[in-house]
């Protein structure tokens, strides 16, 4: 048995522990948090979403095992076609995607009846691509000038396509690519000015939206979210868009230190998307400060393991890939938890590996191949 495990299940054992731990948390919390959804969509079949989540987790874990057996060279070969494919998908989504929360982030796969987020796929493809380009341009003696333009152009295209519908993902992605380039020794002034340009663009759209000039439909929502984040007065009003934050804080506060116990959340009835965007609040409510800290620690530990893996790695491509994917996962997790406790404005970032949702789990799981083995 242990030989079998050793043979087929590869990768860092610590990371496996984290994945299994988070999967268990995910199952319990999703089961608890989907009560409302189960009533409104599944006629009260409360276990529906838990089993769906379980199947996603199992498929995801299988994926990890399988992906571990794919040699790196295929990643290198397929990174560019995959990127272009996902760009195409993003374009299709923008024009005809399913509308959830007014944001067309979803695309339905014909025939299967499943909808998935092309942006998740694009993130993965882009990071692998960036890792490849960075690896190709690494020189012992000079900064990696040559990597800047290909990366910036491709990242720019992907970010701009995600941007109208999902500002936070776009910003996150841009930031992570920037970080990767910095660690990949792209000169800092290049990055600085690119960052400046990006910030200017985002600021412009937001400022216009605050002054009622709407270039992008979603900009209105961002503007109010940002306004509310900085404006204490509306933040205390009953009907502001900070409703979510208030509910989230109530969930966290009432959970206390030891929590209300699995399945005993009250705030799941008030929080919108308690199974994804605000799942951390439900964790804090049901498992208390201890549970919340443990989950937080798990991600931090995950980050640490990535550092170890990167340092251990003797090849550049896997190192960059692990770095990029790992940062993506951890930063997203921190953003999600930060939103729940109220230190970031509300965004729709799910908690990686824990939030309910097939696409992100599948992509993260497959993405974690890099994390698990170098």
């Amino acid at each position: 048995m242990s030989n079998f495990v050793r043979k087929y299940i590869k990768g860092d054992q610590n990371i496996w522990v984290i994945i299994v731990f988070l999967s268990l948390v995910s199952l319990l919390t999703v089961y608890s948090a989907t009560g409302s959804l189960a009533y409104s969509t599944q006629g009260g079949n409360t276990t529906y979403f838990m089993f769906k989540q379980l199947s996603f987790l199992l498929v995801g874990i299988t994926l990890i095992i399988l992906v571990h057996h794919i040699p790196y060279k295929y990643f290198v070969i397929f990174s560019l076609p995959a990127l272009y494919f996902s760009i195409l998908m993003l374009l299709i989504t923008l024009s005809s995607g399913q509308n959830l929360n007014e944001a067309s982030r979803w695309l339905e796969v014909p025939g299967i009846g499943l909808s998935f987020q092309p942006s998740e796929m694009a993130k993965l493809a882009l990071i692998v691509y960036v890792a490849r380009v960075l690896a190709q341009h690494q020189r012992e003696d000079a900064p990696t000038y040559g990597a800047f333009w290909p990366i910036t152009i491709h990242t720019g295209i992907v970010c701009l396509l995600i941007f109208p519908e999902n500002l936070s993902t776009s910003l996150l992605l841009g930031g992570i690519v920037g970080l990767m380039m910095y660690l990949g020794r792209v000169p800092f002034k290049y990055l600085f000015f690119t960052g400046l340009a990006g910030t200017a663009l985002v600021t412009l759209v937001l400022v216009l939206a605050m002054n009622d000039i709407v270039l992008i439909d979603r900009a209105e929502t961002w503007a109010t979210r940002v306004e509310h984040f900085f404006d204490e007065e509306t933040a205390t009003s009953e009907y502001g868009s900070d409703y979510q934050v208030t509910q989230s804080k109530i969930a966290i506060a009432t959970g206390g230190i030891f929590g209300k116990g699995p399945g005993n959340s009250d705030q799941r009835n008030f929080l919108p998307h308690p199974y994804s965007d605000f799942i951390y609040a439900i964790i804090a409510e049901e498992f208390g400060l201890l549970g919340a800290a443990l989950v937080l620690g798990a991600y931090f530990f995950f980050l640490g393991r990535i550092g170890v893996l990167v340092r251990r790695s003797n090849r550049t491509f896997p190192a960059f890939m692990v770095l990029g994917l790992g940062l993506m996962l951890v930063i997203q997790a921190f953003v999600n938890m930060g939103v729940a406790v109220g230190i970031f404005p509300v965004t729709g970032q799910p908690l990686p590996l824990v939030s309910m949702g097939g696409t992100s789990i599948l992509f993260y799981m497959s993405g974690s191949r890099g994390n698990s083995q170098c």
């Binding site: 109010t224 804080k249 966290i252 506060a253 705030q267 406790v341 230190i343």
Partner: protein, 688 residues
């Protein structure tokens, strides 16, 4: 960097869970279950005949939740234009593009309770608005929030508005004035509560306490009489440009207030009811109408007889440092006590009191107190003015207090208190508390009935009462109020023309002396049904005498009340009580013959001189009643004893052919009387 972030998140977690826990738990409590107050419907106020004189009508304001869950951009954008057009057409005050822009802005601002239009609409209108695009999707997916308000309406407009009263603007505070306030607890009912708990994403009603609607108040007011009183008073107030006026009509026996008018001049020629309840709240010096109390006291104490004479001199008489005058120029000279009252001589009345009580004024005031004049009536309507009757020894008591008090100065009473006193005189001495409400009902069932409350079963002896009743009649017959005398029914009452005291400036003011003209009395004088007071405050100075200004209002009210009552009670409406079994049933027949039969049998017969031959009988409680019965046209009549000419005329009228035999009067006829007539049949009459 990441370590910092982790610490920051951890710090926030700890802060929320430990340091701010109570704050958020507080908030959580407000969420856990949401209680919705279900407002109870306020009861109606009815007049004595059950007409609604104050009722609640629901009205609605339209609000919109522009962030309603199901109100997506697609829905909103697709329908906003047509909704705007509907709103524009419905409210008819703004363009469709105004409504469109207004709603779009509200949506952008994320308003969850946006007032669509400030106008309140009726229930019928609501049904229309409910069907507008977007709105027809309802609250959750269309953001349609009709906010219900209960409006209190007075269907009869100003009639008795002040007596009925009104509610506070903030409905939860209930009644503000009048009966709405006095009976707030009866009318308001108890609100219900429904508690909702959020379960599985939707609100589920958890517990519900149903509201209990308020009960109806059946008042003693009669809206028709109120109308009469208001119209009459209004007419006089306008005629004399008075400041304000009061008219109260009361049922003598029960003290039930049938009408109570309070009109206040809001601008020249315009009078409003809803200003102040002067009838209840304004205690003023009543003037001459108070002389009734003085004369009762003197008669009761046996100090005077009506035939005693008093020298009123030349119309001016000095008490210490003040001179009292009679309004009659040159004075009345030597007159009787009766004349002093009927002609309202100030000197006459005050001399009676002053001369008999100056040594012991307490005796006089005690007598007034014993009649209850110093006590408020204890009305349920808030704000009753306190009567003021000084007592010897009070700091404000002086030598001139006694004579002036006797003619209604240096005392204060409200119109309703004066009326109650006169009503007691009309009611043979029984002082009853004015009654505004006779019952409480709900769903057409009487839950409670109120009896009239006797304050003082006898304010004075019957002998005195008879004398003063006669005096009050005399005022109208021969005294100061002959102008309201009429031949149909008799009025008893007393005029009053009081100067209005104006604080330290005495009775003078910038506009000269102001008066209150009043008349208080009852009718019909011998069998009093209603008492009434009319007081007109500050009529123009050309005409200010009580008999003219107030008396004419009194007369107008009395006339119409009398006419209305007469109509309601026609003299012979009393239906005979029919009894079967005691007296025999009998066929109708000739009166004389039936009389013989009944006499023979010993049954009493009740009949007027009927002047008819044929009668029908009706067995009643104590007698058999004969009623005239016209001869049926289809029967052969009795012509026996008639002359030939008459008999032929009668018979031919029935279509018979007549053959005559003999001469003289009819002795026999060939067809017996009472036989059905056959047209063209021949009847032979035998004359002898």
């Amino acid at each position: 960097m990441f370590g910092g972030l982790v610490l920051f998140i951890l710090f926030e977690l700890v802060k929320l869970k430990i340091f701010e826990a109570s704050k958020w738990e507080e908030k959580a409590k407000t969420l856990e279950s949401s209680s919705i107050v279900i407002e109870a419907n306020r009861g109606n106020i009815l007049d004595e005949n059950g007409k609604k004189i104050s009722l609640s009508v629901p009205s609605y304001r339209i609000y919109m939740d522009l962030r309603a869950h199901g109100l997506t951009s697609a829905v909103f954008n697709a329908k906003i234009d047509s909704l705007a057009i509907c709103l524009s057409q419905f409210f008819g005050d703004r363009s469709a593009s105004y409504y469109r822009n207004d709603l779009i802005r509200a949506r952008r601002n994320g308003e969850r309770y946006h007032l669509v239009h400030p106008r309140k609409i009726s229930y019928i209108e609501l049904q229309e608005v409910r069907e507008f695009p977007i709105f027809r999707r309802g609250r959750n997916s269309g953001g349609f929030i009709p906010q219900q308000y209960d409006e209190r309406r007075l269907p009869f407009g100003s009639l008795a508005a002040r007596t009925i009263g009104k509610l506070y603007g903030d409905r939860s505070k209930g009644g503000m004035v009048g009966l709405e306030r006095a009976y707030d607890n009866v009318l308001k009912g108890t609100n219900g509560v429904s508690t909702w708990k959020r379960i599985a994403g939707s609100w589920i009603p958890e517990e519900e306490i149903p509201p209990h609607d308020g009960k109806n108040l059946i008042t003693t007011l009669n809206i028709e009489l109120q109308d009469v009183a208001e119209q009459s008073l209004l007419h006089q107030l306008q005629l004399h440009d008075a400041h304000h006026g009061v008219a109260i009509l009361m049922e003598v026996e029960t003290g039930a207030v049938k009408a109570m008018v309070n009109l206040h001049r809001s601008e020249p020629d315009v009078y409003i009811e809803d200003h102040f309840n002067y009838a209840v709240g304004e205690a003023v010096e009543p003037g001459s109408t108070f002389k009734l109390a003085s004369i009762i006291a003197a008669l009761e104490d046996g100090e005077v007889r009506l035939t005693d004479s008093i020298d009123t001199g030349n119309g001016a008489y000095r008490y210490y440092d003040r001179i009292m005058r009679d309004s009659h120029h040159g004075g009345f000279g030597k007159i009787t006590v009766r004349e002093a009252f009927e002609k309202s001589s100030n000197i006459g009345i005050s001399k009676i009191i002053f001369e008999n009580y100056r040594d012991n004024p307490r005796r006089f005031v005690d007598r007034l107190y014993s009649m209850g004049l110093n006590k408020p009536l204890g009305l349920e309507i808030k704000g009753e003015g306190k009567p003021v009757i000084k007592y010897p020894g009070d700091t404000s008591w002086s030598g001139v207090t006694l004579p002036w008090m006797s003619i209604g100065y240096e005392v204060k009473m409200t119109p309703l208190q004066i009326l109650s006193f006169y009503n007691a005189v009309a009611n043979n001495g029984k002082l009853v508390k004015p009654m505004f409400v006779k019952g409480i009902s709900q769903h057409g069932k009487i839950l409670r009935e109120f009896e009239s409350e006797v304050v003082n079963p006898s304010i004075c002896s019957v002998a005195t009462l008879e004398k003063v009743q006669d005096l009050l009649k005399g005022v109208v017959e021969r005294g100061t109020a002959t102008n309201i005398r009429n031949d149909v029914y008799q009025i008893a009452g007393k005029t009053g023309t009081a100067q209005i005291a104006r604080g330290i400036s005495g009775y003078q003011s910038e506009e000269g002396v102001q008066y209150i003209a009043s008349f208080v009395g009852y009718f019909p004088a011998d069998r009093p049904m209603y008492s009434c007071i009319v007081a007109v405050n500050s009529p123009s100075n050309d005409v200010y005498y009580g008999n003219v200004v107030a008396g004419s209002v009194f007369r107008e009210i009395a006339d119409r009340v009398y006419a209305l009552s007469y109509e309601k009670l026609p003299p012979d409406e009393i239906k005979p009580k029919i009894t079967e079994g005691v007296f025999p049933w009998s066929k109708g027949g000739p009166e004389d013959e039936l009389s013989v039969i009944f006499d023979e049998l010993g049954f009493p017969v009740q009949s007027r001189k009927l002047n008819t031959e044929w009668v029908s009988t009706l067995a009643m409680e104590h007698a058999v009643k004969f009623r005239p019965k016209p001869l049926p046209g289809s029967l052969v009549p009795q012509v026996k004893g008639m002359g030939a000419k008459d008999a032929v005329a009668v018979l031919e009228n029935r279509g018979l052919k007549v053959a005559i035999s003999g001469v003289g009067r009819v002795a026999r006829q060939s067809i017996e009387p009472g036989t059905p007539v056959k047209k063209g049949q021949t009847i032979v009459i035998y004359l002898e």
